[in-house]
Amino acid sequence: MDISLMIALFVASAVRMAVPLLLGTLGESLTERAGNLNLGVEGLMMMGAATGFIAAYHTDNIALAILVGMLGSGFGALLYAILTITFRTKQDVTGLALTIFGTGFANTLGKSLANQNTPPAIREFAQATPLHLPLEPVASLPVLGPVLAFIDTAFLQHNWFVYLTFAAAVVGWIYLFRTREGLHLRMVGENPAAADASGIRVIAAKYVHVVIGGILCGLGGVYISVVNVGTYLENIVAGRGWIVVALVIFIRWDPLKAIAGSLLFGALEIVGFRIQHIEGLSSIPVFSQYAIDMYPYLMTIIVLVITYARKKAYQGPAALGVPYFREDR
């Protein structure tokens, strides 16, 4: 196999690995921009993965699978929202509880369908490559041919779910930084009292974004079980929810940077897997698969430390983790 094809295939799988991370990161960024640190991402992704898969299995309809996955994770996010926003509970304990609840809920629900495969129409959707270029006419051209072939293999052989996810990141950036509602949302996260005083409905904004954020996380779960793997397995999300919590810090709560961040972390996820086939490299401990698995977390820690050491850098929404009491003003 020639080297450019190998790299292209590697990039293509990094893109696929990035999708659940990107969806989760978008969701958690929205949630944290509203001032709520939701540590329940893992649980929400599990709920999305299980409910989405059940719908996919029984209806063989991708739209229904997505819808049910959204409802499932939306239910979890709503629970979290009611507790942290209305009942003002401690956000990180509530998030941990949501992870325990969501994982248990998903594993209980999915138990009977574990190891089943998705039905044909959904598999067809997952394998479709709608943007694939017809390359036969240009394949023989000297420079253009190989370049197009590389681009095609790396970026254009994915299904709609993948493209819509990356589009969602761009939409998310526009929403946050170029619309009035996005400005209001950021204000709620930075200084809810000031936002309230200027007439923004703080509680409503928090509810809407926490629930939408949770649904985006859940869609990440739907992608994993329904689209990417095509089966439901116990603990299928496998800790990606926690990588998402890390990624959000890494990308500084910015949806555009989230694209780069999730591609990088997605690539790391498969580098470890691929490197075991390269003899000379994998025998060096630092490059062993198991050492590389550690890097996403170590990188996040380094980013965390640098962020807090450089007082100029954006350290996240100022009111993150603080419940809003109008009475305390």
Binding site: L37, L39, G43, L79, L83, F87, R88, T89, K90, D92, V93, T94, L96, A97, L98, T99, I100, F101, G102, T103, G104, F105, N107, T108, L109, K111, E234, G239, W242, V245, A246, I249, P285, S288, Y290, A291, D293, M294, Y297, L298, T300, I301, L304, V305, Y308, A309, E327
Partner: protein, 378 residues
């Protein structure tokens, strides 16, 4: 008319206790509804859980065994929590403790007497857990780095380190290619008293230590002052950084000890799953017990019973064992919500027009009575 939420003066102990008990019952009710919706019989499930955890000597022994590391981790974390240092890195600190204990066990000659094994391994585990907690502790004290996320990430690093040790560095050549770490020697195993390994004695000793430390020692007092307000502590002449760093290290050391208890008492072989989720469950145990050490014994036993009983339930009724996580999560949700009902109450308030009428009728006084300080008259 509109609804307003107001802070209450501290609720009476009985009222608070009643609200907490009701909240657990509400959680059980909701879990029952969820189970019924999934097509399982909730009453049979609860009975099976009770039978599996407390119904037999075997079940009881298993329940206590499961509760031991959970309790020790919760106790360790509670020292961090009382400083408002949100250490959710219990899992990592426990794994680190077990890694250090394993290392110590393999360094000692085979002829070492058992007691010396236990002491060395326990100390090594405390050093491992303590040092591992010290990293985020130092960063928080000196540069304000967010400890919640830092400790969370360190969990995964520790787990990956254990995987790495198992598959690469410490892979036992005698295991015929099976990727596992060499088991600790027989002499290093903890003996059993009343059918349970003596980790339970360690857990009780730690309970007493933490209760006394936080309540009756100078250092414990300083710890609590730092938790109340770092600024107050600073003005009172307390060296906040030193208390914080020392407290976090002690916290991690105790959590590390749980790693030793699990390794030496139950697993005997180090693996990445030695933490067993205790680091996360313990956050909840410590929190539900309101950082009260003796109460943690009760809650740790309850959680262990749920886990142990759920296994019996799966065997008997084919209800997935993960139902116990659903119940745990719901108990926690409703316990969290119950704090709200303990410290707030809902006031029905007159709307602005009614207030204005009232104001015109009777002058300023009554309107003032409605400012936040005078909520109870409202």
């Amino acid at each position: 008319m509109r609804l307003r939420i107001a802070k209450k003066e501290t609720a009476g102990g009985w009222r608070a206790a009643a609200i907490r008990i009701i909240s657990v019952l509400v959680a059980l009710l909701f879990s029952g509804l969820i189970m019924a919706a999934m097509g399982f019989d909730p009453i049979a499930a609860y009975l099976a859980i009770a039978k599996g955890s407390f119904g037999s000597a075997r079940g009881l022994i298993n329940t206590v065994t499961v509760a031991i590391p959970l309790l020790i981790v919760a106790l360790g974390l509670s020292i961090s929590f009382s400083m408002r240092f949100w250490n959710i890195g219990g899992e990592g600190q426990m794994v680190m403790g077990a890694i250090f204990a394993t290392y110590a066990a393999h360094q000692l000659p085979e002829t070492t007497p058992a007691v010396l094994y236990w002491v060395t391994m326990a100390l090594a585990a405390m050093i491992g857990g303590g040092l591992y907690a010290l990293i985020p502790g130092l960063f928080r004290a000196y540069s304000g780095t967010n400890e919640t996320l830092f400790t969370l990430m360190l969990n995964y690093v520790a787990i990956k380190v254990a995987v790495f040790l198992r598959l690469v560095l410490w892979k036992d050549p005698a295991a015929k290619g099976f990727p596992q770490i060499k088991a600790i020697p027989e002499a290093a195993h903890l003996p059993k008293i009343f059918g349970v390994h003596i980790g339970w004695i360690i857990a009780l000793v730690v309970t007493v230590f933490v209760a006394i430390y936080l309540k009756y020692t100078k250092r414990g007092y300083e710890t609590r002052v730092v938790g109340e307000s770092e600024r107050t502590a600073h003005y009172a002449g307390i060296n906040v950084r030193r208390v914080l760093v020392g407290g976090v290290a002690l916290s991690g050391a105790i959590v590390g000890l749980a790693g030793f208890a699990k390794l030496s008492g139950v697993s005997h072989v180090l693996s990445e799953s030695i933490g067993g989720g205790n680091g996360f469950s313990a956050v909840i145990v410590a929190w539900l017990a309101q950082l009260n050490a003796p109460v943690m014994i009760l809650i740790a036993l309850l959680f262990a019973a749920m886990e142990q009983g759920a296994m019996g339930m799966e065997l008997a009724l084919k209800i997935p064992v993960s139902v116990s996580d659903v119940i745990k999560g719901l108990i926690l949700f409703s316990a969290l919500a119950s704090e709200f009902f303990i410290s707030y109450h809902v006031v029905i308030e007159k709307g602005p027009r009614a207030l204005l009428r009232q104001y015109r009728r009777s002058g300023r006084k009554e309107l003032q009575a409605d400012t936040p300080e005078g909520e109870d008259q409202a």
